[in-house]
Symmetry: C2
């Protein structure tokens, strides 16, 4: 490559990195050779010499109670954002657990890591603290000391739904949440949503109950709501895959939208009529996580928790209290 352009290897490097000024004529000559040869610098050599691999790791959850399409949206947005910073993404699954992190960090395969689906008390957090590998968490653990975290402000999302329904005059609302297992392992986002919901309900003087729900228990939950809480006129659903079955089950009891006002938290699946919802901005959160990680890779860390402000979009599924 350098020979083809008639310059030294270092000159080629400087042309590519721009770290020293190179005359316009030489730059042109080098670029022409690059095009002519289809030259691509050897990634291994580059990472060896520069101590930068230009790769970040993405740890993706595998749990069955994680909603896969949402996880995928995060993953895709992370890859896209990383490419914009000239980085690639190495995919790690939960399979190896914390050891996977140690491995990629120890062998200098990656410059940083993004960890998805962080729990309140996550085994990976102490490992990250010990590794001095730049990292960003998507999700918020209990102790955020020294960590960089990004997430949707789920408490605000839960609250926004309550305020929307209260503004419409509803006085008794129910929250249908994630499967019980999600709460049992203390996943931050689920807890915080419920907390935001309950707090806002108390503040507005709204009667509120909350109900975990998995695909198999939809009918049971609806039975409870119809039987024991007949006064409920507003429903907040934080459980994307169950929205459809839930609405059908309610319809069987004669409760249809928007007589029953429904707000969804998260993307609404196709095949369901458009619902008033707080969207989950996976793309923004993913891109933000990558941006923060790049900052950390470049310079000193600025730890902190970034919460994306939720936006409620009004659609046809909510109406004033009948």
């Amino acid at each position: 490559m350098a020979r083809h352009a008639g310059v030294s290897p270092s000159t080629v490097s400087y042309v590519l990195s721009g770290k020293r000024s190179i005359s316009e004529a030489t730059t042109r000559r080098v670029r022409e050779s690059i095009d002519a040869l289809g030259y691509q610098p050897h990634a291994g050599a580059r990472s060896l010499a520069s101590r930068r691999s230009n790769v970040i790791a993405l740890v993706i959850p595998l749990r069955e109670d994680v909603h896969v399409p949402v996880a995928m949206r995060f993953a895709v947005s992370v890859v896209t954002a990383a490419r914009a910073f000239d980085h690639d993404v190495l995919l790690l699954t939960q399979g190896e657990g914390p050891d996977g992190l140690r491995r990629v960090a120890g062998s200098a395969m990656v410059d940083g890591v993004i960890v998805m689906d962080v729990e309140a008390d996550d085994a990976r957090v102490p490992v990250l603290r010990s590794l001095d590998l730049p990292s960003v968490l998507i999700g918020v653990p209990e102790d955020t000391e020294g960590l960089t975290c990004v997430d949707l402000d789920f408490a605000a999302a839960g609250a926004a739904c309550v305020h929307h329904l209260a503004d419409l005059g509803h006085t008794e609302v129910a929250f249908v949440g994630q499967p019980p297992s999600v709460y049992e392992r203390r996943t931050g986002f689920a807890e915080r949503t419920v907390a935001g919901f309950e707090e806002a309900a108390a503040e507005r003087g709204v009667v509120a109950t909350s109900h975990p729900c998995s695909p198999d228990t939809v009918r049971e939950v609806v039975g409870t709501l119809v039987g024991e809480h007949p006064g409920v006129t507003g429903l907040i659903v934080h459980n994307e895959p169950s929205v459809g079955p839930l609405l059908e089950a309610f319809a069987e009891h004669g409760r249809t939208v928007p007589g029953l006002s429904v707000v969804a938290i998260g993307p609404v699946p196709p095949g369901v009529p458009p619902l008033t919802s707080v969207d989950l901005p996976a793309e923004e959160v993913g891109a933000r996580a990558v941006g923060l990680l790049m900052d950390k890779i470049e310079g000193p860390a600025h730890p902190g928790v970034t919460l994306q402000v939720p936006r409620l979009t009004t659609r046809q599924s909510t109406a004033p209290r009948p």
Copy 2:
């Protein structure tokens, strides 16, 4: 590292790779130092010297009509299988198109690539042919000359469903397929399933119709079936996300399972009663793809198409014709 163990760097390398015999005493000493120091070889240096990165690329589709959970199952199984061969997985999205392949190949970032969701006439195929980068396709393009492909035998899957229903005495069956866009871009698996279905139906003398279907057109499709094909008693559904809504829509017309016998192709989503189905063995296909890729990386290529034989599992959704 070498100093800590009191040996030369080359000795350490031979202990790790096992490419030359090293005395037991020395091996033990080196391993002790490795443990004591938590030593991990530098991935970049290794790839530079050995011309192997121990990383494979996985090109994952982004299209909205691809069923995301299935894609994810493939991805996870590929990562797991790759780890068993001491390889990591670099995630490429469709975003960069063929250029992404050129980039990772040219910079020697990866030893091979697995391409998912291959279309009949796929733009990436000629690129792969030109790259001399070991590759395995998940999916089967039109011209497989020189390629290594893995897939479920979808034609056999479609046929198996027909045979199952015909064995139960059904004489008029319908096939509910993927969204129209999937057929329009000539995705192999969808076409082959329909072909297998039609061929087997002709062979068994069964009256057969097939109907593309997207989440938005479920009711429409059901309307057509109930109205124009009232004699249909067997249904084959090759469209996972629509199974639930489809059955509900039929129920509204008084057609319930198993009076209407239903066979699904692909995993059945939770929240739907267990269906007789041909499962989509994503885990096996992913693992097989990785295995074939490793063979190609190690030795000479053995191109060819590997089709995984489908297995039909009988559950409560199919019964003899009433």
